[in-house]
Amino acid sequence: MDWIALTLSLKLAAWTMLALLPVGIVLGRWLAWNRFAWKPVAEGVLALPLVLPPTVLGYYLLVSMGAGSPVGQWFQSAFGRTLVFSFEGLLVASVVFNLPFAIQPMQRAFESIPQDVRDAAACCGLTRWQTLARIELPLAWPGILSGMVMTFAHTLGEFGVVLMVGGSIPGETRTVAIAIYDSVQAFDNAAAGVMSAVLLGLSLVAMAVVYATGARRAGRRG
């Protein structure tokens, strides 16, 4: 059992989740309530990580964050090290490939708030921030929670993109999914088995949480 890899995975998942919380709320809310000509394109771009092979996504991320890219050069000059093959680079990649997992449930949650309810909030004299805090977020909360849990679970399990962008540097970019692969390569089936079981358990708990919040929401509306 590679505890360092597991800790790294949990850390990556937690940071990805936190980074995507405001992003998902802002983008999900915006996509839910605005209509514009190129909306299908915007939604399509944000959904790409669902269908692209992780190696393809990883390749583009590697190129766009590499030492030759503007982003990579900026990071190098600001922090004195490369963005790729670092935890920070892994986090950026993780945020990108989790966009649809965070945004889509949150978008659906905001879409389910009727226009009349939002108009009623305005007619009640609530400000935009009061409406967000007291009406929208509490009503969208199950979707926001499921977006966060999906992001967390998906980050734990991601393999291809992590390998492309981060490699397998112990303590820096070697997540538990990579560690499992390395263990199998090294014929350490016992370690691979334990780590796989841990991932399986965590993923199962995450999915149960997602469905439990969905069921509670359905019950409340029914």
Binding site: P114, D116, V117, D119, A120, A121, A122, C123, C124, G125, L126, T127, Q130, R134, I135, P138, L139, R220, R221, G222
Partner: protein, 369 residues
């Protein structure tokens, strides 16, 4: 409790699209104005423009001398700045909040320690004492509507807007809510605009009625006046007047107070109406309440007025009444008349039966062609 509005609500709106609007209406303080029209006529759009959740391309909305919207002057207050009470068709209660919290949400202008008491008093006023802690899903349709009314009144609004507030409840609950609203409105000092597609509801609850069709206000008047004297044949059709015909003015007799009319293949007498010159082509209407059947057993006084002979072409019992179509002998035009079932039975009405009816003079109403 309500802030006394000095004057009423004045609304002028116009736009070509997406929903075309050509609206001109006014509602005095303390008055209930029913905005009536078929679905898709733009009633809810007008209400939303007044509330400020929608904005018309051009026009002006003012309440009590205060301008809420003026496209020419570049004024457009937010719903929050307008202070309206809005009861939505499906109430739009906040589903995660108790009835009490729903009402308190609209009490932001009141000092925090007073809000709970004010909300309880409002819920008490709409007969919801004891249900303060229930969430909307735990309330019946009628109770939800009452919470929505309490929440709308909580703002001390300058105008109260009701969007089909009775459409989502069953018939018996609706009757109770009608009574409650009629009672409540006695104490309301602000203009109240009630959107409905139900003429009976409008006639029952409103002081005046405004007919809206395809975004255009056609006529505003007390309900009984619109129902008896529609401004034109379109209004007549919208208020469900079934007997509208073409005719020609044959003469005026100011001394006798009558206007003579060529219609249904004969000469008819109507109340004096000198808006139309002799020889003018007009449309004319008569409400069903002014068409009386000549009874076989005994003649009645009204029978001398405009007797019309015909045969029953359609005879359709509907509950306690019978809906009939009488084919006029002279022209083949159709008169649609509803009789109580017992009257129909006693007079041997059935499909094909010959009948004579009188069109009571006072009911005949002339309209521009």
């Amino acid at each position: 409790m309500a802030e006394r509005a000095g004057a009423g609500l004045e609304v002028r709106l116009s736009q070509a699209g997406p929903i075309s609007l050509d609206v001109d209406l006014a509602c005095a303080a303390g008055e209930v104005l029913a905005l009536v029209g078929p679905s898709g006529s733009g009633k809810s759009t007008v209400l939303r423009c007044i509330a400020g959740v929608l904005r018309a391309k051009s026009g002006r909305i003012a309440v009590g001398g205060r301008t809420w919207f003026d496209s020419a002057g570049g004024v457009s207050l937010t719903p929050r700045e307008r202070s309206v009470g809005f009861v939505f068709q499906n109430y739009a209660l906040f589903p995660h909040m108790s009835a009490q919290a729903n009402v308190e949400a609209a009490l932001g202008h009141v000092a925090a320690p007073e809000r709970a008491g004010r909300a309880r008093a409002l819920l008490d006023r709409v007969n919801l004492k004891g249900l303060e802690s229930r969430r909307p899903a735990e309330l019946s349709g009628g109770q939800q509507q009452r919470v929505a009314v309490a929440r709308a009144l909580a703002r001390d609004p300058r105008a109260l807007l009701l969007d089909e507030p009775f459409s989502a409840v069953d018939r018996s609950t609706r009757q109770i809510l009608y009574r409650e609203l009629a009672t409540l409105r006695r104490d309301l000092a602000m203009p109240v605009v009630l959107v409905t597609h139900d003429l009976d509801e409008a006639a029952m609850l409103a002081d005046r009625m405004c007919i809206l069709h395809r975004g255009r206000t056609l006529q505003t008047a007390p309900p009984h006046e619109i129902l008896a004297r529609p401004a034109n044949s379109l209004v007549a059709r919208l208020v469900d007047m079934k007997n509208v015909f073409r005719g020609k003015v044959a003469g005026h007799d100011a001394a006798a107070g009558i206007t003579l009319l060529e219609g249904l293949g004969q000469r008819l007498e109507g109340p004096l109406d000198e808006r139309f010159a002799v020889g003018a082509e007009v449309q004319w209407a008569i409400p069903g309440s002014h068409i009386i059947l000549h009874r076989r057993d005994r003649p009645s006084r009204g029978e001398r007025e405009n007797p019309v002979r015909g045969a029953i072409a359609d005879f359709l019992p509907l509950g306690e009444n019978v809906s009939t179509v009488i084919r006029v002998e002279a022209t083949g035009e159709s008169l649609r008349v509803t009789f109580p079932l017992h009257v129909a039975r006693r007079n041997g009405l059935e499909a094909g039966a010959e009948v004579v009816v009188s069109l009571l003079r006072d009911g005949i109403h002339l309209m521009a062609n």
